[in-house]
């Protein structure tokens, strides 16, 4: 692998790496910040001529260190260190086994876009409040005049509906090949 390939690979895999970081932090703001730090680290390593055999395994390792730094900054890691390490190991195995290729990821994003358009206006409003408005369950409940429990159930159903829709499209796509 050429050093310049590191940056190209980072750009190609950044969505999956973001997902990996989010899985470890469960905090989108932290995940965005750590992804930027990861990008800087990869740029530095590219300039040093680092050439890992497997980009994703190496990048996940670097990302995991950045996540550990994040917890250290929060002062929370020492208390949860053992648990974090075990959980991070499990997440790492999951992403090593299951992470999609950049092409598959893009296709699933396109399918998701098509599936979202089939949702009712109410459900799309709820999703928009959650993901773009970054509202809490209670805030969404107030805006929608629902209970927080109803929002949680509706969000779960929406995710499931979208997942099934994307799966159907993937199966259809595979069947047509």
């Amino acid at each position: 692998m050429e050093p310049s390939d590191l940056v190209r690979q980072f750009v190609q895999h950044r969505d999956v790496l973001y997902g990996y970081i989010f899985a470890l932090t469960r905090d989108h703001h932290a995940a965005e910040e750590i992804l930027q730090e990861l990008g800087m680290s990869i740029l530095t390593e590219a300039n040093r001529g680092t050439t890992p055999d497997s980009f994703m395994a190496w990048a996940r390792g670097v990302a995991r260190h950045r996540v550990a730094d994040h917890y250290r900054r929060l002062g929370a890691r020492r208390r949860h260190e053992a648990r974090f390490e075990q959980f991070a190991n499990a997440v790492d195995v999951a992403f090593a086994e299951q992470a999609p290729t950049p092409q598959d990821n893009q296709q699933q994003l396109q399918f998701l876009r098509e599936c979202v358009e089939r949702l009712t206006l109410r459900v799309r409003t709820m999703i928009d409040l959650r993901y773009r408005g970054e509202k809490s369950m209670d805030e969404i409940a107030a805006a929608m005049q629902w209970t927080a429990g109803s929002v949680k159930v509706a969000m779960s159903r929406a995710r499931r509906t979208l997942g099934e829709c994307v799966d159907r499209k993937l199966r259809s796509e595979e069947g047509s090949r």
Partner: protein, 209 residues
């Protein structure tokens, strides 16, 4: 109700409300079950993609980006048959209105022209912020606090097509249907006087489940 315990745990995980006990169960599932690992990665990445789409405005376009869809493009999504039925009704009404205007114009020569060609028809989704039944106007906004407002008027002037108003997919009137804090989809055209609503579909706030 969600019957799959892992689904429940993943929902809480993605909402950031996972308990210590759930966290331990998730970790154990990830360590021992390949199917759980697959479901975990798919759920996390689906959540990330959904966030990405929402932030790009693809889930619910903000009013400032409207008009975003012409009528023919928004027909296929939404509540399916009901939306299509409403659209078909609007089409029939439009055809009727054009016929009436044509006949009126031919007989008397006094009818005003239609103020915008049908090709300018667009739709906007959002919340009704305020309504003035007397003036026949209402304001629609996106959910964001700083989202710009869109002010619509209903068709009352000579030559304007009367606005078709639905409340929960049933024909209604301005006073009953167009009230603050309700979701609405407005099909409109731009005229010299502003935005003329041709059709307003209003949804009542849902009942808590």
């Amino acid at each position: 109700m969600n019957l799959d315990p892992l689904d429940d745990i993943l929902d809480d995980f993605l909402l950031g409300s996972i308990s210590d006990e759930q966290s331990a169960r998730l970790q154990q599932a990830l360590q021992t079950d390949p199917a759980a690992r697959s479901q975990f990665v798919r759920s996390v990445l689906a959540d990330v993609r959904l966030r990405s789409l929402a932030r790009s405005g693809a889930v619910l376009p903000a009013p400032e980006s409207l008009p975003v869809r012409k009528a023919a493009q928004w027909m296929p999504f939404g509540a399916g048959g009901l939306w299509r039925l409403a659209f078909a009704a609007a089409g029939l009404l439009a055809a009727g209105a054009i016929t009436v205007l044509y006949v009126t114009h031919r007989d008397t020569g006094t009818a005003a022209p239609i103020k915008a060609p049908a090709s300018e028809t667009a739709t906007a989704d959002g919340w009704i912020r305020s309504a003035d039944a007397q003036a026949g106007t209402f304001i629609l906004v996106g959910h964001e606090d700083d989202a710009p407002q869109m002010r619509f008027h209903v068709g009352r002037a000579t030559g304007e097509r009367e606005t078709t108003i639905f409340l929960e997919n049933t024909h209604s009137d301005f006073q009953t249907a167009i009230q603050p804090n309700r979701l609405a989809r407005v099909t409109y055209i731009k005229t010299g006087e502003g935005l003329l609503a041709q059709e307003v579909d209003v949804m009542l706030p849902p009942d808590p489940q």
